[in-house]
Symmetry: C2
Subunit: 206 residues, 2 copies
């Protein structure tokens, strides 16, 4: 498969959301123009995004909403569910554990870790907080593909190393550091302050 840009993957995720809404509302076919309007893009971009993955739809007739949703779910790897471990039982971690969008999409937070003895043993959204010392042992028993890292900056790389060593293949990183990982591990970083800085940059450079 050709290398697909992150921005394309993000648009596919958005298209999927609209398609599911249309499908739930009983709309059976949808044009690239309609998808484009909802996705804040152009019909040509929609057709290009979908063309990466083979032939979809019929010229002049549009796409079958249900069928296209199934195809995109397949492309995005959403035909299966994922176990997710979360490391760092702080405020952001607490919000993420309860985020309904994860479970809806098949991402199940199965374990939460912290090093704070006062948090270990407490229950967050039905999941018991475990001692971070036991991560390797637990991951050996319960192999997990995805980890969400919400530790302080200075702990992030060490925890990431341990996760990778224990077989985690994908990390969503909320710590404000660039993580070094092997080539076969994928990292996406979310940094709230950094997002605001892209806004202040835009405001300062208009």
């Amino acid at each position: 498969m050709r290398k697909i840009a992150d921005s394309t993957v993000r648009r596919l995720s958005l298209y999927l959301r609209f398609l599911e809404r249309f499908d739930a509302q009983g709309t059976t076919t949808i044009s690239s123009a309609e998808l484009a309007r909802h996705g804040g893009t152009t019909s040509a971009q929609v057709r290009k995004d979908l063309s990466f993955f083979g032939s979809f739809g019929k010229r002049g007739l549009g796409y079958s909403a249900a069928e296209l949703a199934v195809r995109i779910r397949g492309i995005l790897g959403l035909k299966r569910s994922y176990r997710v471990v979360l490391v760092g039982a702080g405020r952001i971690g607490g919000a993420l554990v309860q985020y309904p969008g994860f479970r809806q999409r098949g991402f199940h937070v199965t374990a939460i870790y912290d090093k704070d003895a006062k948090k270990v043993g407490t229950r967050w959204n039905g999941v018991v907080v475990r001692d971070v010392r036991h991560i390797e042992r637990d991951l050996q028993r319960e192999p997990t593909d995805i980890a969400i890292l919400v530790t302080p900056a200075d702990a992030a790389q060490e925890v990431a190393d341990r996760l990778v060593h224990a077989g985690v293949k994908a990390i969503l990183n909320f710590a404000p550091v660039q993580l070094a990982v092997p080539n076969d591990v994928v990292v996406k970083s979310v940094n709230m302050a950094l997002e605001l800085e892209t806004l202040s940059f835009a405001l300062a450079n208009r």
Copy 2:
């Protein structure tokens, strides 16, 4: 100024973090190689990123950490502080209000809005939750550049329209919808489930 890619702005934010740490530790000069290593990129990329904004550093001597930090702060629009309003006093909103990285960077959440009468009047991290009906009136009295939108999907566009009408010029959007805004308004979207989908995509397409 030339159009600067989002990815460049993000790297500048990261460089700034390292420079501040170096400066605090007493390191006076830093090479592009060191910045590259911390930023997970190459020396050539660092020099290219900085070259957008004129001439920095001396060949063979590296950059003055303190001076470069000041320059990047200027580039990112961080020499001033920003008032920020947050709309949507839910779990993610609650975590964001308490996020220490915002205030450190000069982003001050000065008002929180919700439509839930049970939340209006309660205090979140020292800021009283106000009724969303009063947004226009309040923004007229207290002009604000940046809004963080954490409403449910079906309310987001209407709230965005009202914010824009009331003079907000930049929106950090956590609602899982693509917002339509005028050209002079900048929107950055953060969608947690979507971030996980870029990971499941990567796992499914290795």
